[in-house]
Assembly symmetry: C2
DNA sequence: GGGGGTAGCTTCCTGATGGGAAGTGGGCAC
DNA sequence: GTGCCCACTTCCCATCAGGAAGCTACCCCC
């Protein structure tokens, strides 16, 4: 009781945190969708992926194949792509369709729910594209100031 | 040339990726803002943090202290909070103000740029709160189906 | 009929990364 | 002076993401 006032407070905070999460699952969901690959996958599936992210690239939603997504989201590892797609499917944001052609074709498509999220994700992407120059300028200023 | 067709394609994809990122920094920025702590910090600074995430909690933006943020974003480690705040400051989304009271007081506040991002982040949070039940239902269905 | 090729994963290993907890500095209350 | 508070910073370790290779199921070509 003598030396642990701050530590005790932290322990208490952690206990509160667990209780908080339990009664506030929307926070968990926010954690989930605020993920780089999630936003990129939704973004890709939502706009038609006419290669290159720049400009608008806002064609309209259409189903895409695994390999197509892999190409479009240059840099995603197969593991993370699979993982992200699975979790999005589980959450009901996309559907996974296996067509027994040869070789097997797997397509992913936004559901209505996924489409509604896509709208806000697109806003996020639009923000990034619009304000990128500002951010870059700010970074330069900051870095120069701090030497 | 005989056995590496697929591997070569992957190597090529990686090279493309680097070139892609170099000429498309908005993608990098999107990666950055699509981060769980970033969204939560913006969310906290944007709405007045009248404790509890639920409902709207959409008071209006106001400066907050480090310890206040720490309390509000229950579960954030001090390290990540500091790190996130620094990067947001560097990007010009928030300002950091040190007031030499005693003990020293540090406040963080959204800039105009940060405020504009906050609007879309709020939309994301609103989506999470609105559609959480749907997502939860979908998960249950999915889990039951797959045993 | 078997060697090679393709799509879509899955597994293994390793390096990066996030969390926990303890330490720091400066000033003031006791 | 002893010790505490705020806002960090540092160290250590558990977890996690990425890279590469393997795997399965099928077909084509010779």
């Amino acid at each position: 009781m003598a030396t642990t006032t701050a530590a005790q407070k932290r322990a208490q905070a952690k206990a509160d945190y667990d209780a908080f999460l339990a009664q506030c699952p929307s926070r968990k969901l926010l954690d989930r969708i605020a993920d780089k690959w999630v936003t990129l996958v939704l973004s890709a599936l939502g706009s038609d992926g006419s290669h290159r992210f720049g400009a608008d690239c806002a064609g309209e939603p259409r189903p895409m194949r695994y390999s197509e997504l892999s190409r479009l989201l240059a840099g995603v590892s197969q593991k993370m792509l699979t993982q992200t797609l699975r979790s999005l499917e589980r959450d009901g944001l996309i559907t996974r369709t296996v067509t027994p052609t040869v070789p097997v074709t797997v397509t992913y498509e936004l559901t209505g729910l996924g489409l509604s999220l896509h709208d806000t994700v697109r806003a996020l992407k639009a923000w990034a594209e619009t304000h990128m120059d500002d951010v870059l300028a700010n970074r330069e200023t900051y870095d120069n100031h701090a030497e």
